[in-house]
């Protein structure tokens, strides 16, 4: 295999959540479908979505998975792991030692299945990184924390992680940008889904205004809920509108430049790419050149999240998204 000279494309199986939840595919048939359609070879899998044995995958299943990978010619780049700290709702988070061990279990599973990096989450308190990073080094598997909406390069949590990254100074820790944090607008397809549930235009106009305001996602959702109830909108319609606050925020697309150096992988979040290869809410023409020009040679996996409100053909959406990336990156 030759060393990559520029950004690579791939897909996260999360894009096919609708097909997976409705039992249309098994792991082997889904991998085969991705390979057959030429959407790989680079893939990401959420451990807790596709693997029943997660977080403790057996040697036997790991071997079986490697056989599936060999049969399809795919490349298991990233395994998304979870920082599940709040296992008892309403009670205290689990002890630090238990959370560290929970990460180690997932790291071991990802490694034995052949993944080269894991996605982890900010729910892991930054002070635990010095305990986990040496274990990742020992296993020889990189860890990228996902910078997901409402976070972005300028968020205080990202700054705190950046300071710890400087202190630990290891190539095993990095960033995984998720472009939903720098959306330029709410996707029209998402608004259409709310309309289909009965949400009226004045509620959606208010949503667009509040979405642009400052504040945390739950605060903004609270603001819209309060306004909606006061103006006679049904709770179901308000709930449909509030989805936008939790998966998208509107920070500056150019802000990703600050994270390029330590970016090890990318979630190419998207909602709908048109036939002429333009994403409806996220400004890829501004964002992607930052990474190519900054020397990024890892993988951007196409992550279609329209399935949160839509049942369009996910495979076709991923095909378009990858074609869009090639258009912009020129490869």
């Amino acid at each position: 295999m030759t060393a990559s000279t520029g950004p690579q494309t791939g897909v996260t199986l999360y894009s096919f959540t609708n097909e997976w939840l409705t039992r249309q595919f098994e792991v082997d048939t889904l991998l085969a479908e991705v390979a057959k359609r030429g959407l790989g070879p680079n893939i990401e899998i959420i451990g807790f979505q596709q693997f029943k044995e997660f977080p403790d995958v057996s040697d036997a299943y790991a071997e079986k998975f490697k056989e599936m990978i060999a049969a399809t010619g795919l490349n298991p780049v990233s395994c998304a792991i979870n920082s599940d700290r709040f296992l008892k709702p309403g009670q205290q988070p689990i002890e630090d030692a238990a959370l560290v061990e929970y990460h180690k279990r997932q790291l071991r599973s990802a490694k034995k299945m052949g993944f080269s990096l894991v996605r982890y989450q900010f729910a892991l308190p930054v002070h635990l990184l010095p305990e986990i990073a040496p274990y990742a080094e020992e296993l020889d598997i990189r860890m990228g924390v996902e910078v997901h909406a409402p976070m972005w390069a300028g968020h205080p949590a990202v700054q705190a992680y950046g300071e710890m990254y400087d202190k630990l100074d290891t190539p095993y820790l990095g960033w995984i940008p998720d472009f939903g944090g720098t959306a330029s607008r709410i996707p029209e397809s998402m608004l259409d889904a709310a309309r289909a549930k009965g949400a009226s235009e004045d509620l959606l106009d208010k949503l667009k205004d509040v979405w642009l305001e400052q504040g945390m996602s739950h605060e903004k959702a609270g603001r819209l809920r309060e306004w909606g109830m006061a103006h006679g909108h049904a709770p179901l319609h308000i709930q449909a509108a509030c989805l936008a606050f939790f998966i998208l925020s509107n920070h500056d697309p150019k802000s990703w430049a600050a994270l390029v150096d330590r970016t090890i992988h990318i979630h190419g979040k998207f909602y709908g790419v048109s036939e002429d290869l333009v994403e409806e809410a996220i400004d890829y023409d501004t964002i992607l050149p930052l990474f190519k020009d900054g020397g990024f040679t890892g993988t951007m996996v196409s992550e279609w999240e329209g399935h949160a409100y839509d049942t369009r053909d996910a495979f076709e959406q991923v095909r378009r998204h990858q074609a869009m990336a090639r258009r912009i990156w020129g490869s």
């Binding site: 959540t17 959420i46 807790f48 979505q49 997660f54 709040f86 739950h218 049942t311």
Partner: protein, 127 residues
């Protein structure tokens, strides 16, 4: 809920141990420990069901629903149905029941979030 999510499982409702057994699906995109899933309220044909003697059946194991909150290391695989065993609810095979079930999900990496997932469906009781 999301477009394809459901809380009433495809396997529906059937007779079981003198009572009923209801299939449930986890309304999320990934597996979760049972401890973050709150089952109920449940009503059948408009009557609220007392869940104090209900059991969960999953992957060859059974435990009282009241112990669900302690199941921090038993994961409900997102593709699987889990089953709610209702020893004190009686119905006849072949009869139709209107089942209204809500599951509350608190994702363990998003503090303070609690999703409500109501679903109502008419099911025919299988033998």
């Amino acid at each position: 809920m999301l477009p394809v999510e459901r809380v009433i499982g495809e396997e529906g409702l059937c007779l079981c141990d003198g009572g009923l057994k209801l299939a449930m699906r986890l309304p999320w995109y990934r597996s979760l420990p049972f401890s973050v899933v709150e089952v109920g309220p449940l009503s059948i044909n408009g009557d609220a069901v007392d869940l104090s003697d209900a059991l969960i059946e999953y992957d060859g194991q059974r435990w009282p629903l009241s112990e669900n909150g302690e199941k921090v290391d038993t994961f409900w695989f997102i593709r699987d149905s889990a089953f709610l065993i209702l020893p004190s609810v009686h119905s006849d095979a072949g009869s139709d029941c209107e089942v209204a079930l809500n599951l509350f999900v608190s994702p363990p990496y998003i503090p303070g979030m609690k999703r409500t997932n109501p679903q109502t469906e008419t099911l025919r009781v299988a033998a």
